[in-house]
Structures are given as C-alpha cells and as structure tokens.
Point group: C2
Chain length 339, copies 2
C-alpha cells in the first residue's frame, strides 16, 4: 500500500489539516499534469475538495473515502483484445503439453495454429473453454508465479512493450491524487481477480485486497507440501455489469464516492456510486483517440469494435445524470508515460 | 479504520523505527494488561517482535501484515447460541406480520411460541429456513438499519447487557496491540458478513472491508428511490472450515501471519496461516472457564455442547503443530471489560 506524505499528514493531523494541504499541493505544482485544463479535470479537483475539505458541507470521513476504477480500457489498453485473453492463448501450448489429448480437440487445435483470423472466429463458448482450461486446475501460488513470469516477458504487438507499460499516465496521476487525499483506490474489473492482483501493486499502487474482480471458487486441499488452494472451474462472482456493485458490496461493503469506467459493463457501478448521498463523481473514458491509442464506441459515431463497448445509450445516460465523459483526445495531454 | 500514533509512526518512519518503538511501548507499560504472564502472552509478544523488528530475520513488510480473528467464541460470547441466531428468532414476529401466511407454517409457528425447548428441538433444516427467511429478501441498507437497531436494544439473558459488551477484553487489547505494529486485523467468521459489518467498527475497530464472513448473493435492482442491492437466498461463501482460507483468498489475497480461532471451524484457517514461510502464529481459545464465561470442548474433558465445538483431535493437532492453546481460565486476567 502506498502512503505518500500528504496522506500520512491527513491521518496524523486529521481532517482539519486538509485545507492547508490543498494549498500546499497547489503550491507544489499541478498534481494532474497529464490532464488538460477543462471540465473533466475541473470536476475531479472540485470533487476532491468538496469531500476532503473539513469546512465543506459535503466532507467525507477518511474511513469512507472509497474510489473504484475499472481496469480494461480505463487504466490500461484493452484493444485489440483483453490482455488476460492473450495470456490464456499463450498458455495453451503448455496446457497441451501437460494434456496431450487436447492437441486435436477444439478449440485448442485452432488456438495452437496461431491463425489469428480463425481464432477470432471461434465465438464465445469455445473461448470460455480456453479461459476455463488455462485459468483453473492449478493452485493459486503456482498461478501467481506463472502470471508474474508472463507479464514480465510478454509484449504488446503494436508498441512492443510490456502490457504493464500500456497504462494511462493521466489515470496513474489520478490514482495518486485521490490517495493523496485519503481515498482508498480499488480496481473493480470484469477481469480475473487473481490475474490482476499479480501486477496491480507494482503497476497501480493497488494492493491485492483492493482488487475486486471476477472470481472463481478455490478449494482448500492438502498437497504434498501442505495446504493449497486449487482454482476451480466455478464462477463465484462475474464482476461485470450488475456484478460490479454486487462485488463492491461483497468485497468492500461501502458505496464508492468516486467511480470511473469506460464501457457498458461499468454502467451499474457508476449508477450505484451516484446513488449515494453527498458529492459523488462518476466518470467514463471515451476512446476517441485513434492516433495515440484506439478509437471505438459506438457512441458519438465511433467504430463499434465489440471490445469495451460504449453505446450511445450509455453516453446519453451519462449526459442526463451528470456523469463526466473524459475524451482521451481532448482531456489527456499524454496517454502513456513513454509518450 | 483506527490509526494509533505508533502505527502512523511506523508508516511515516518506516520499519527501521520499530525497534525503538518496541522499547517505547514497553516503557509505556503493558499493552496486554488483561493477559496473565505465561506461554500465550509470551508467544504473542515474541511473534510481534519477530515480524516487525527491522533487525529480525523474520521481518514482514507492513503491507503483508495480516491477522485474522474468528468472531463467535473468539472475540465475543457464542453460548448458549450464536448471537446472529438470536437476531433471526427475534425477527420472526416482524416477518410473520409482513407475511401472515407464515404464522401457521413450521418452523415459524414453533418459533413464535417462544418455547425454548421446542425451538431447540427443531433441528438444522428448519433452523436454516428461519435464517434464510430473516436474512434475505431485503435491501442491504434496510438490513443494516434493522441490525443496528436490534444490536443496540437486545440484551443477553445472563449478563443483561448488550451483546456488543460481551466481547473479550484480552482480545480487544490483542487487536489494538497488533494494529499498533502495523497489522491489519480482519474478522473471518462463519457468521454473516453483512451482519457483523454493522457493529464491527465500533465494537472491534474493524472496518467493513476487513470483515470476511459467510456471504449471500445480492442482486442489483432498480427500486423506487434508485438502485438497491437485494439480499438473495443464495449462499456465495460458507465462511467456515475450508471456507475460511477460501474466503481469505477471495477477500484479502494474502496468507495471514497471525490467526486465532476457538473451534473446529477454524482448523483450516490456522493450518493455512501456519503453512506460510517465516514466523506465523496460530492460536485457539479454549473455553475452560465456566465461572466467568462458559466451559465447553469436548477437548480436555470439557462438556460437549455442540456450539463452538473444540474436539480433542483439534487439541492434539494444535499441540503437534505448535499452535498455542489459550486457556480462558489461566491466560486471561479478566474476560470482559465490565469484570
């Protein structure tokens, strides 16, 4: 868990210190340098001051300061396909080596060919078969080691960089900014909880216990070296759509004051955050920057790519309910740290 | 979340400060005054120093300091029956008022008579029917309000005090002591997560996100005043026995360094904690003090009461594997704050 000096100061000195801390922060320069001046940045700063300034009628005690972030498409790149799916495909050769009978069985045979077009045509059911086979039947410690090793070595084909470098710099600043004011930042992702936990602390400064994700059952068993937890092919929590507020209740038990996502899968999480009393901020990242990243919607006439879908209906709900739509093109000065 | 000065000092100054902090703590007097000197108290102090002293070969970084506490029979009284069951029984009249057809249906009819002997004879299945009916079909906010109101007014028949006063003073000191050295203290209970979260912060200093308990599914729905989460009669996590390490993995994602329980339902949690590397402490509270509290086992020839069962087999596993058995009679100077 990351504690910067300002956060510790808030904890030691109590909430009354926040006013002077805000001025101190301003004096130290812009805490969100990768955000362009505009409505989105202004909404963030206004929200933080409203909820952490002891003199504010909307002041929120430190213990209740919860901020939830979707991951894929909100914190890091999700195109052309989710990184965790790349992991699953990359695991198939090792899986087939351990279970040779799978080499001739679909969909593993097709995945082994490496033919991207044929793989893309597989459809959802065969895809889920690959996901289940590569993410389960293994103890949680071995799984963690394998993901850690993969995430270190794998490279995104477009940028030729580790996936963990394809995180959005403005969001890294936003996470730190919120934490600096006593917010606990959580990831709430449709991706696998065990998968994201492996790199979340180093990549986002978010510890394992603050990663809420889709979670499979594990079973406690006695292995050769003692007790182990085996990942079972049984879904406990599908942490997408309505599953997001349901997962937040299960894992945190508090309604977030701040929530940000980028697709229809985040709709209910944002509604849930906004349903609370006091100042609540809901935001959606719109991928409208095909040059620096990817352009997809189909909201606002952007291409409908089926990955990270942001419908016009969601855009209209955002406008109607006072959610802030973040334009990657206009609101972000830079997208990646390496830009 | 409670941050005492020593914990904040550790966060600010880093781990190197712990040595002098330990001396400072000793100079300030005994942090565990309700514990008698003996093997149990010694094991606790030794464990804390081994894992938090920067010079120790078994030093554990702050982020990884996780301690898990069972609740019923470990933090508060569980006899003659679990407090949450008393809540369920007490809810039956209101339930029948809302659903009059239940008045003549078993097991509700029997519960309504208030005949304790007849209720005790109901058996597990009818009991679970009462539990499901009184804990579900309601939104989480209303449930929280109802539990909060009940826990304020309800009185234990023996001590004529609120149940939240029937917490063990030595354990309150132990929780604070561990937190003072940077440990995050979690409750890991077979009881309902939503139930325990209502009073855990005020009673134990443990915030909602650090309560791991048996959890039912909730469903996201649109109510008259906006989104609500309805408690469904579907069990997601049975947080007892093997469910305890499974729940710890789901909710925390780290192996505890310290774990304490009091019954066979805690066995796997303690095994799991002890399976980790470095210094790990597993403890079991033995209820051998019929005068100040209750006496039950059946370990060590104590009565077998079926509530909070501590078998001789568990006692033998504890002895064999270096777990510490805490005798309430001999290790605790006093049991309750009001003693």
């Amino acid at each position: 868990m990351e504690f910067d000096r300002r956060q510790v100061a808030t904890l030691v000195l109590g909430s009354a210190a926040s006013v002077s801390l805000v001025s101190a922060a301003s004096a130290q320069g812009d805490p969100l340098p990768s955000w362009n001046d505009g409505a989105a940045k202004e909404a963030i700063v206004k929200f933080v001051h409203a909820t952490t300034d002891a003199a504010s009628p909307q002041f929120v005690p430190v213990a209740e300061r919860v901020a939830t972030f979707d991951q894929d498409g909100t914190l890091w790149v999700e195109h052309p396909i989710y990184t965790q799916l790349v992991y699953c495909f990359d695991r198939v050769p090792a899986l087939v080596k351990a279970h040779p009978e799978l080499a001739k069985a679909e969909p593993f045979r097709t995945v082994l060919t490496g033919d991207r077009e044929a793989i893309a045509k597989l459809g959802l059911e065969p895809l889920l078969k690959v996901v289940a086979a590569t993410l389960t039947g293994i103890d949680v410690d071995t799984f963690r080691d394998e993901v850690a090793s993969w995430i270190k070595d794998a490279r995104d084909p477009r940028w030729k960089r580790p996936y963990t470098e394809l995180v959005y710099q403005p969001q890294i600043e936003l996470l730190k900014y919120l934490r600096g004011f006593g917010y606990r930042t959580y990831i709430v992702t449709g991706g696998g909880q065990d998968f994201v936990r492996v790199y979340a602390e180093e990549t986002y400064g978010i510890p394992p216990e603050q990663v809420v994700g889709s979670a499979g059952a594990v079973s406690y068993q006695y292995g050769a070296k003692g007790p182990v937890l085996i990942k079972e092919p049984k879904l406990l929590l599908n942490d997408d759509n309505a599953g997001k507020p349901e997962g937040i209740h299960l894992m945190i038990g508090r309604k977030p004051y701040f929530a940000i996502g980028n697709s229809t899968g985040d709709r209910q999480m944002l509604e849930y955050a906004k349903a609370g009393t006091g100042a609540r901020l809901a935001m959606l990242v719109l991928h409208d920057d095909g040059a620096r990243e990817y352009a997809y919607g189909p909201a606002q006439g952007l291409p409908d790519t089926k990955v990270g879908t942001f419908t016009q209906e969601l855009y209209d709900e955002a406008t109607k309910d006072g959610w802030i739509v973040v334009s990657m093109k206009n609101d972000w000065k830079r997208v990646f740290a390496f830009d």
